[in-house]
């Protein structure tokens, strides 16, 4: 027997919708976290990672200016906007894979030709487990964070890495006697 979280009616286990209020009950069969860390990952939201304010460039910005921005401001990626809308993302990895040794010839072309268009985004009130899933499965290093469809920040895989390691006491104080490399 399960209780409908919307109206409190009793429903049988595994019911898809509540017979009384017709709300879907699928999430009652979601896996339940069993350790502290799992609970944190499911409970804590993306905004708790304190997403950085994203650095944005316009879609027609020349490639050379974008590379300078990435380097001077020590960034891994910039968001590409067109009419205030997020249309792409350009990372140092894109510089390596799409510009490479041809950079000198391409430097005046607009960034829109080399960006990754329509990047995956994550809502700021989604769980960290959800963002982690997106990053791990998609192989992304950065995820733009949105709120009500608007770009509000950026999280990187290292933010999540730090979040997890901060919650693993064994990692913060490693045993001193263990073998170190040469």
């Amino acid at each position: 027997m399960v209780l409908c979280p919307f109206c409190g009616a009793e429903e049988i286990d595994g019911a898809d919708v509540c017979q009384q209020c017709q709300q879907p009950l699928d999430d009652l069969t979601d896996p339940q976290p069993s350790t502290d860390l799992e609970r944190f990952l499911v409970r804590d939201k993306v905004y708790m990672l304190e997403p950085r304010k994203p650095v944005t460039v316009a879609a027609h910005t020349p490639v050379a200016n974008v590379l300078r921005t990435l380097y001077d401001r020590r960034l891994g990626c910039v968001m590409v906007l067109e009419d205030e809308e997020l249309v792409g993302i350009f990372s140092e990895r894109d510089a390596l894979l799409r510009l490479n040794t041809d950079y000198a010839a391409l430097r005046h072309r607009p960034i829109a030709e080399f960006m990754t268009p329509s990047p995956e985004t994550v809502e700021s009130d989604a769980s960290i487990a959800f963002a982690l899933h997106k990053m791990d499965v998609g192989g992304y290093r950065h995820l733009p964070v949105t709120a009500d469809g608007k770009l509000v920040g950026l999280i990187s895989i290292r933010d999540i890495f730090r979040y997890i390691t901060d919650r693993l006491p064994g990692v913060q104080q490693p045993p001193a006697a263990a073998g170190q490399g040469p």
Binding site: C21, Q22, Q23, P24, D26, D27, P31, P33, S34, T35, L37, E38, L41, V42, L67, R68, L70, Y71, D72, E92, R93, A95, L96, L97, N100, T101, Y103, A104, V122, E123, D125, A126, S127, A129, F130, L132, H133, K134, M135, D136, V137, G139, R141, I157, R158, I160, F161, T165, L168, P169, G170, V171, Q172, P174, P175, A178, G179, Q180, G181, P182
Partner: protein, 154 residues
């Protein structure tokens, strides 16, 4: 078994290291960039007689491109010398500690003779961690909020 026990007992070689991509110090930046593109590699290990001498990462590549550097410069003049490494016998926890405290995205794994045997990255670490709590990470819906909180929907 608790994840903390795994972290302090398993060696860094469990954290999905990638095979090292070694190049000679005389390799030019141009050759290095082409190799990184072809291999989809994020960094090259610069080795002399098998021993690790330096590292050349995509960050260095960006720096050189952005500053219009001469692409025929040999790597030995632009690489980062004697990068931080971990020995192949250290635990995952120690490698993680080193990565977070140093702000490294990747660490070369070396053997007794300081020869690189692999490269461990934040991505590999994340994969390793995810596998210890697969139920909450890999069972996520395709959208963050599949349940509407009102009858009429959002």
């Amino acid at each position: 078994m608790d994840i903390r026990d795994n972290l302090t007992s398993e060696t860094v070689e469990h954290a999905y290291p990638t095979p090292p991509l070694a190049v000679h110090p005389q390799t030019t930046v141009r050759q290095a960039l082409e190799l990184m593109k072809a291999e989809h590699a994020s960094c090259l290990l610069v080795c002399q007689q098998g021993r690790l001498e330096g590292i050349f990462t995509e960050r260095d590549a960006l720096r050189l491109l952005a500053s219009d550097a001469d692409l025929d410069t040999p790597l030995e003049r632009v690489m980062v010398r004697q990068p931080s490494t971990v020995h192949r016998t250290v635990t995952v926890a120690e490698a993680m500690q080193k990565m977070t405290s140093g702000g490294y995205r990747r660490l070369p794994i070396v053997d007794e003779q300081h020869r690189p045997t692999g490269l461990v990255s934040v991505k590999g670490m994340i994969r390793y961690l995810c596998e210890h709590f697969p139920r909450v990470v890999y069972n996520q819906p395709t959208v963050a909020h599949p349940i509407t909180h009102q009858r009429e929907g959002p």
